[in-house]
């Protein structure tokens, strides 16, 4: 048995991903230890979302190796996917079903037990319990995002993947999200996220990884300490939208 301290939650070796003429990841190497909150930074097109999608096993890689908790993804059965929970860019919900129906359906897809209790707990944790019998179509984008978060948390995954989870959330929901991420870290679980509120993310993260043109540009285990350096690596000359400067 490998000790918790040395085990890696994510290990990516020389991963390459091309979309037609565009090279998105160009031999990226990345190791993330268990129990850390990592924030992925980088300009648009740097490969953050693609990396998250690869870890979520939605996107296949052209070459290289990726493993999650020691399991190689290319040789996985579907069970490996139970290790991860993902909130990606779109909420991925059935608009004409209620929150409860959506969560019930996905609970079945994850073969979960005690579904009613589980849904009650999770919806309370993300603060959506009062509208549980409303159709998803009637909810705001931020609210839908919280439903998506509930779905990702329901099966209690080891690795939580969050692609800009704060988008559309009000300040109260953001602090609730911080609490969830904090609980995750305390439970010895791992979080990998992207963000558009960089300053805030650097405060809550244990590690910041700056992606630059399909490669790791900077990997800092002390994000609040290396703030200036990270911001410089992340936005080299021109400021992109959603920038860190306030």
């Amino acid at each position: 048995m490998v000790s918790q301290a040395t085990q890696l939650a994510v290990k990516a070796e020389a991963i390459v991903k091309n979309y037609g003429e565009t090279a998105v990841l160009r031999g990226l190497e990345l190791s993330l230890p268990v129990g850390e909150v990592t924030v992925l930074l980088g300009t648009n097109g740097a490969g953050k979302t693609t990396l998250l999608r690869i870890l979520a096993m939605l996107t296949s890689i052209d070459s290289g190796n990726v493993s999650i908790y020691g399991t190689d993804l290319s040789r996985n059965g579907p069970d490996v996917r139970a290790l991860t929970g993902s909130v990606l860019h779109s909420p991925m919900l059935y608009a004409d079903m209620t929150i409860r129906e959506n969560l019930m359906f996905f609970a079945e897809m994850y073969r979960l037990q005690n579904v009613d209790d589980l849904i009650a707990q999770t919806t309370e944790k993300v603060g959506i319990e009062q509208r549980i019998d409303d159709r998803v179509r009637t909810l705001s984008h931020g609210f839908q995002k919280r439903v998506a978060l509930a779905r990702a948390l329901m099966h209690d995954p080891q690795l939580l993947l969050l692609d800009e989870p704060e988008s559309g959330l009000d300040t109260r929901s953001v602090s609730r999200l911080d609490q969830i991420i904090d609980d995750y870290r305390s439970a010895g679980r791992t979080v990998v996220m992207t963000t558009h509120i960089v300053e805030h993310a650097l405060e809550i993260a244990d590690r910041a990884v700056v992606l630059n043109n399909g490669l790791v540009g900077l990997n800092s285990a002390n994000p609040s300490g290396d703030r200036a350096e990270i911001l410089a690596a992340y936005s080299p000359d021109t400021e992109s939208s959603g920038s860190a400067h306030q």
Binding site: P78, R81, M92, L93, M97, E101, F106, M109, Y110, R151
Partner: protein, 224 residues
């Protein structure tokens, strides 16, 4: 095994629930097929002999073309909200997603036929309420859903999806379409099971081949 059937049924039932709320697919298929049948009653002189001659072809061509519309719509619904990706995130194998979606499509096209076939029987004055019709209809719908679900999943990211799906789907299902038309033709001419047995066997072979191959192949379709 039992768990797998539960997953397939859960996906099919979810599609059914959404269909009951929206009626997107069944209305499209039944409406389109009905129009084909109705328009053909004007396009030909429907005396008893003509009806027997062209009726089966009109019915199944109508259902095939209408089916394409429905299959397109059914898969588009799963893709519009990116929910297909949510299914792909779940720890279930891809063949279960395929079989679940195919089950949904099978149910929709079956319901559409329950609406279309009686109207066809009235307009063409043909006796179709027989056990043979049930067998033909089930076998044909099974094959349509098996191939159609696969091709619909492949076409969702294509620029001209509405054009691409029929171009892929119709030539591949031609043998099944021939089987449906010929068996129905035997039936309206009052022949027995044994006359149509070769065609029904062909339909069974088609269905088995494509359900097995599609379930096996489906995992290659979903990842980008």
């Amino acid at each position: 095994m039992k768990g797998s059937l539960a997953i397939i049924w859960a996906i099919g039932r979810k599609d059914l629930l959404l269909e009951i709320r929206n009626k997107d697919v069944v209305v499209a298929v039944a409406g389109f097929a009905l129009l084909v049948v109705v328009i053909f009653t004007f396009a030909t002189d429907l005396n008893q002999a003509n009806a027997k001659l062209v009726g089966p072809g009109v019915l199944w061509a109508g259902i095939a073309f209408a089916g394409v519309t429905g299959l397109n719509r059914a898969f588009a619904l799963e893709v519009e909200g990116n929910t297909l990706e949510a299914l792909m995130l779940a720890p279930i194998s891809r063949d279960l997603i395929y079989l679940g979606k195919a089950l949904g499509n099978f149910l929709f096209i079956t319901v559409a036929q329950i609406i279309v076939i009686p109207v066809f029987a009235v307009l063409f004055n043909l006796v179709v309420f027989r056990w043979e019709m049930l067998a033909i209809s089930l076998l044909t719908t099974l094959g349509f859903s098996a191939v159609g679900t696969l091709f619909a999943a492949m076409s969702v990211r294509v620029r001209a999806r509405e054009v691409m799906l029929p171009l892929l789907f119709l030539p591949v299902v031609t043998p099944l379409l021939m089987a449906a038309v010929e068996s129905t033709s035997h039936m309206v001419n009052g022949r027995s099971w044994s006359d149509m047995s070769q065609w029904l066997q062909l339909a069974v072979a088609f269905d088995v081949a494509f359900i097995v191959v599609s379930a096996f192949i489906f995992q290659h379709i979903l990842e980008d």
